[in-house]
């Protein structure tokens, strides 16, 4: 009921277990928790998905809006990702505007989707320099039980995969929105995998308890390129500790394998 630090006894136990290749919830070091994806859960959102990663629970919703393009990319649509750490998700979260953690999360997800060229934004241009589609992805965190980044990235991607965008007709400088819909131009599936460092061990998909005691974490996004090769498309190191050069490379190797595993369970919406 009260906000308080993780007991030092538990911290000791998590480190001891990791040392012998075990984890407090019985997983192996590179096991993910169970992933449960539900898509198209809402009618008023143009696309939606919920992801349960263990007990971590997030919902992502997609909405569209016609807006002006950025001056430096006048012929591309805009992707905009926000995240809300709802106060009901953790005794530590407070109501109010997104804090640095929520903003970091949204930006990491945004970079993975953008860097991995998940959406062909050129196809979202309506009148070059004047009108383009903005794709809003709003991430709502309902239960924070660790590793919000991976769960949010997965929910966002699945919501985009199920999203239906209205067809349009351009007459002069006017855009007419039709009552017909088509899927978003999704061209790749970037997946983020977060790895925590505990002592000198690397643990995939840290739980809340593990996050609270970890030295630091690294989130790595992988995407399958047009060349059928796996490419890294975003990285974020977080937490106060540090990684050795060798640890980083090992984490990347692990993330590559894990991201492929996760990609296989995505309900692909026709893809």
């Amino acid at each position: 009921m009260t906000i308080s630090p993780i007991p030092s006894l538990k911290k000791k136990q998590i480190y001891e277990l990791a040392e012998s290749g075990k984890r407090i919830d019985g997983r192996g070091l590179i096991d993910m928790r169970k992933i449960e994806i539900n898509t198209n859960i809402l009618d008023k959102a143009e696309g939606s998905a919920s992801v349960k990663l263990g007990d971590t629970y997030v919902i992502a919703g997609v909405k569209f809006e016609i807006s002006e393009p950025f001056p430096d990319i006048p012929d591309e649509g805009i992707l905009s990702v926000t995240a809300e750490f709802l106060p009901l998700a953790s005794p530590l979260f407070e109501a109010g505007p997104p804090d640095e953690n929520a903003i970091e999360l949204a930006r990491v997800v945004d970079r993975a989707l953008r860097g991995g060229k998940a959406i062909n934004t050129k196809k979202l241009c309506l009148i070059p320099g004047k009108k383009v589609w903005t794709v809003w992805v709003d991430i709502f965190v309902f239960d924070h039980c660790g590793n919000l980044i991976d769960a949010s990235a997965l929910a966002s991607l699945c919501a985009l995969l199920t999203a239906k965008i209205p067809k349009t007709e351009v007459i002069g400088n006017e855009v007419k929105i039709l009552d017909e819909y088509e899927p978003l131009p999704i061209e790749s599936l970037p997946i983020i995998v977060t790895i925590a460092k505990i002592g000198d061990k690397l643990l995939v998909d840290p739980s809340l308890e593990e996050e609270e005691v970890m030295d630091c974490r690294i989130s790595i996004a992988f995407v399958e390129g047009k060349d059928k090769q796996e490419h890294i498309c975003a990285i974020q190191k977080g937490g106060r500790g540090s990684f050795s050069y060798e640890e980083i490379l090992r984490a990347v190797e692990i993330a590559k394998v894990k991201s492929q595993e996760i990609r296989k369970i995505i309900p692909c919406g026709g893809k």
Binding site: S48, Y57, P87, L88, A89, D143
Partner: protein
């Protein structure tokens, strides 16, 4: 342009309901792990998740009250819960609704048992199709029960509208938009008292009295579903293998 007809000649509403019929209700209890109590409600297409924390110490401490627990409530709509994306920052409407929701629930809670503490209630609307505050209140009452917070009664809530000259129970979005009045009501059904009453539009005294009767009938129906949901959830916990 002629407005869409909301009530058919044979007394049916847009979704086929009779005038005094509520939409299908679905409750789920204990949906969140971190919250001390939680509940999910579907009222037709309206979908709400509520989480409760507490009682716990209030910070900053000078806000605490020596003889009772402070109730805090927040009603919030997801950007994707409505047709036109709603920016996530709270609007004036959400702030007002947070207040009336708090005041609808507070009479049910034994606040005097927990001096100097707070109970926080967070309602998130993930899909809005009318009567979202009613769903938030009905679900919050279950989340409070799930947290084991002592209460005089559950609180059940429903809205009544006047649409095309008819009084209708459990208002959905289009009826709210095009109807001529909207009146959300919340009750503590076993005590037969009203804890939320708002109205906008125009009603005669007779219509108002009828609306209130209709709301009472609706609250009783919601209450039955609430009881059923709690009993079956805790029965399952009790008998879980």
């Amino acid at each position: 342009m002629e407005r869409k007809k909301l009530i058919s000649d044979d007394g049916r509403r847009l979704d086929g309901r009779r005038l005094d019929e509520i939409r299908p209700i679905k409750f789920k209890i204990g949906v969140l792990k971190n919250a001390d109590g939680s509940a999910y409600m579907e009222l037709g297409k309206t979908k709400v998740i509520v989480g409760v924390f507490g009682p716990r110490e209030l910070h900053p401490k000078h806000l605490a009250v020596p003889d009772k627990c402070i109730i805090q409530a927040r009603y919030h709509m997801a950007p994707f819960s409505v047709k036109e994306r709603k920016p996530p920052a709270p609007t004036r409407r959400e702030i007002e609704l947070s207040k009336v929701i708090r005041e609808a629930l507070e009479p049910a809670i034994f606040v005097e048992l927990f001096p100097r503490t707070t109970i926080e209630i967070y309602a998130e609307v993930i899909q809005a199709d009318g009567s979202t505050r009613c769903a938030a209140i009905s679900a919050a009452s279950l989340a409070l029960a799930d947290a084991g917070i002592p209460m005089r009664d559950l609180v059940a809530s429903i809205a009544v509208a006047k649409v095309d000259g008819h009084l209708v129970l459990d208002v959905m979005d289009e009826e709210d938009k095009y109807g001529s009045s909207d009146m959300p009501v919340a009750m503590m059904p076993s005590k037969n008292v009203i804890t939320l009453l708002q109205m906008d539009g125009m009603l005669t005294y007779e219509e108002f009295k009828k609306s209130l009767e209709l709301a009472k009938k609706g609250c009783m129906e919601v209450y039955m579903k609430q009881k059923e949901a709690l009993e079956s959830y805790f029965k399952n916990i009790k008998e879980e293998k």
